[in-house]
């Protein structure tokens, strides 16, 4: 009897403890916990978006396959694009920025912790709203449930007449709300970087990660907002009978394209600049050299930020702009290759002559460098208007932007996961599983996306749900699908590594990589207050100064 009572009491205690933990996470305003929430949330959506990608790839594996209906196929590519951009890459980047920026600039938290939590929950609920459309989107008989208008939702496809029911409304409101969340976090990051730096951390001594996060947040402010404005207009059209994009009443479909791509192109840089930031932190540590050309890196990042605002219409060469506009957007698109090229040379310059350690984070960074270069080169090809007229809307474009997003951004993200996992969890990730992940993923990636350029050249349009046999597209689509499965297996290895290392990984200690920025000066995981005493710095590599008092960087600044 007494043992029963004890058992009940312990059961009650554990459930209460469980509730308390949950309550702690839901109500947290700690930048580290919110960072982890962002990252975990993004990983869940990565799995969902990945499943959608597999459905697309299986359907296209052979001609005349009937794996999903054309309607479902439309929903899959729409949801895949929207999910991956807004609910995977954006949140995971904000997660890392949230976690790392206060630690790197020597602050105890973000400038506005409650705004931080608010922004996260806006993002979280907007993702849930998007997926709720599968249940609640069917407003009319025969209307589709999930959004099926493509991730750029061109007018007049989104007009009431062509998109009945509520599916497009779920898409609009969800993207609008996630945009508000992004703006909140961007404001918070800028205020943290400008107002919360520890003594001695002048702007010229900030880690490049903080610099690039600053530029990325500035871009969020001026690039996400046009999308919010366009979404508000779309809502006015759909709910109040407005005519912004209604060609029947004199409205223009092209102006939606402009508004969307004024957001859409800088968005690419919003996604890739944080990956530049990861690479700029990781490459020096594993090359055992300080970053090459710090001021030029900062200048190039700011330059990319500015130029990226004036290239948007290279997504629209085929709509028939005049030759002056075409020339302008070709030239700006070519111009943006210059600062990007400077960055690539600087990373190579950092590696040049260094004692390079080929740990998993470094492998992913090298993969990033190589693949991002190729992605940039196909970008320059597509940036030339005559070439673009030929291949716009083909699988060549799909291959190009997946090269940027998977080959560049995702590789940078994997590097960041392997590099900062020890700081976040206190455990090292397994190197052998990490190397297996790297090699499997790089094989799968190149099989899928190198090959995907070819059906584009052969005239295969994007967003078709199936195709005729005998056009020479079969073998390439089959190979792409096989590559996708190899990437899927590699991702499973990665997830297994994340989970196994959390329980079985070697203890990391404060500074497993012998790195130089402030986050490695505190315990792993860091205490809730980050720093017991506010640190003071005198150079760009404060931990180098502490470890080598005889040869401090500050002497040379």
């Amino acid at each position: 009897m007494s043992s029963d009572a004890i058992a009940i009491r312990t059961a009650g205690a554990t459930s209460r403890q469980w509730l308390e933990t949950l309550h702690g996470w839901v109500t947290t305003v700690d930048h580290k916990r919110l960072g982890i929430l962002y990252i975990v949330y993004a990983l869940i959506f990565l799995v969902i978006g990945g499943i959608e990608a597999f459905i697309i790839r299986i359907q296209l594996m052979r001609p005349h396959l009937d794996f999903v209906s054309p309607q479902v196929f439309n929903r899959m590519f729409t949801m895949h694009g929207t999910t991956m951009i807004f609910f995977v890459v954006m949140p995971v980047l904000f997660g890392f920025a949230n976690y790392l920026v206060p630690l790197m600039v020597g602050a105890r938290d973000m400038a506005f912790p409650r705004l931080n939590a608010f922004s996260f929950w806006l993002t979280a609920f907007s993702g849930i709203l998007l997926y709720f459309s599968f249940l609640g989107g069917s407003g009319l008989y025969g209307a589709g449930n999930a959004p099926d208008v493509g991730w750029w939702a061109y007018a007049p496809l989104t007009a009431r007449a062509f998109s009945p029911g509520h599916s497009s409304d779920y898409w609009t409101i969800s993207v609008l709300v996630s945009g508000f969340g992004s703006i909140g976090t961007a404001i918070n990051l800028i205020a943290t970087i400008l107002s919360m730096r520890c003594p001695g951390m002048k702007l010229s001594r900030m880690p490049l990660f903080a610099w690039m996060t600053l530029v990325m947040s500035g871009l969020v402010l001026i690039a996400i907002t046009p999308l919010s404005a366009a979404q508000i207009m779309l809502l006015i059209d759909r709910y109040l009978g407005g005519h912004f994009f209604d060609t029947q009443a004199g409205g223009s479909a092209a102006i939606w394209m402009h508004f969307f791509w004024i957001f859409g192109h800088p968005e690419v840089y919003i996604l890739v600049i944080p990956c530049f930031a990861f690479v700029s932190e990781i490459v020096p540590v594993f090359s055992r050299k300080p970053i090459f050309g710090y001021p030029v890196m900062v200048a190039a990042t700011v330059c990319i930020g500015f130029v990226s605002m004036s290239v948007w219409a290279h997504h629209m060469f085929t709509i028939g702009m005049n030759s002056a506009s075409n020339s302008f957007f070709v030239l700006t698109t070519m111009a943006i290759a210059v600062p990007t090229g400077i960055k690539i040379f600087n990373w190579l310059g950092t590696m040049w002559g260094g004692k390079i350690q080929f740990k998993t984070p470094m492998l992913f960074c090298i993969g990033f460098l190589f693949q991002f270069l190729i992605a940039g080169l196909t970008g320059i090809m597509l940036g030339a208007a005559p070439f673009n007229w030929q291949l716009s809307g083909s699988y060549f474009v799909v291959a190009h932007f997946h090269y940027v997003i998977v080959g560049g951004i995702l590789f940078g993200l994997f590097a960041a996961f392997y590099y900062w996992y020890p700081k976040i969890t206190g455990r090292m990730m397994s190197e052998s599983l990490g190397k297996l992940h790297f090699w499997l993923f790089i094989i799968g990636f190149h099989l899928t996306f190198d090959v995907m350029h070819i059906p584009g050249f052969l005239g295969m349009p994007r967003r078709i749900y199936t195709y005729e046999p005998g056009r020479g597209w079969e073998i390439w689509n089959l190979l792409s699908t096989i590559g996708a499965f190899i990437q899927g297996i590699a991702t499973l290895v990665f997830v297994a590594n994340l989970i196994l290392s959390y329980f079985k990984g070697a203890k990391a200690g404060n500074d497993p990589w012998d790195a130089w920025t402030l986050e490695w000066s505190v315990s792993s995981p860091p205490p809730a207050y980050n720093f017991s005493t506010t640190p003071a710095v005198a150079s760009r590599r404060p931990l180098w100064d502490r470890k080598h008092p005889e040869d401090q960087d500050s002497r040379y600044e």
Partner: protein, 198 residues
């Protein structure tokens, strides 16, 4: 490990960074400006493209009085925060209240104009392109005025309760920045809607 050794760093004598509230409000203003830019661009793009009437020249009247109200409220909010900084509580309360009255007058003016357009001229947001762009641009601005008025009112209640002193000057100035922004946007909206667009 030597990593934990104390850094041999002399703390700089003065380490002053910008106030985070002002930085954040500056960022919000940048973001809001981008939103307004898109709406203004849409308005300008669609000037004269309506397929049916009414057109701006027939129905719009230039709201000079209410514009003066809104623009002068920028002055009153500025001097209100200056009075607060110098500890003149009475002047602060008076000027703050005056700001709210001027802002409300402007909002009343917008309401009156909309009432006239809807009931006398039959212009609604779905009538034509002019209606769509006009109500969304002016409405977006009026929404920002309303939000500003609510925040001004909250400060007023706190001030009446005696909770706003010179030590809150920085925070009051953040709100004042927002109010200046709302006024500056009106200058653009006024120029585009009532001068260029007519």
């Amino acid at each position: 490990m030597s990593a934990t050794a104390n850094p041999i760093v002399q703390t700089p004598a003065a380490w002053i960074l910008p106030y985070r509230g002002k930085v954040a409000m500056g960022c919000l203003i940048v973001a809001e400006s981008a939103i307004f830019t898109i709406f203004v661009v849409a308005y300008i793009f669609y000037i004269g493209k309506s397929l049916s009437g009414p057109v701006p020249r027939e129905v719009l009247e230039v709201p000079i009085f209410f514009t003066i109200c809104l623009l002068s409220s920028s002055l009153t909010v500025h001097f209100a925060s200056k009075s607060l900084e110098h500890g003149k509580r009475g002047a602060f309360l008076g000027l703050w209240l005056l700001t709210i009255i001027l802002g409300s007058l402007f909002l009343f003016g917008t309401g009156q104009e909309w009432h006239r357009l809807i009931y006398e001229h039959g212009l609604t947001i779905s009538t034509n392109l002019f209606g769509t762009t006009y109500y969304s641009l002016v409405g977006l601005h009026a929404f920002h005025v309303t939000a500003g008025l609510l925040m001004l009112l909250i400060v007023l209640f706190f001030a009446i309760a005696g909770r706003v002193g010179p030590e809150q000057t920085a925070r009051v100035e953040v709100l004042s920045m927002y109010w200046h922004f709302v006024d500056a946007v009106w200058v653009v909206v006024f120029t585009v809607v009532y001068i260029l667009g007519r």
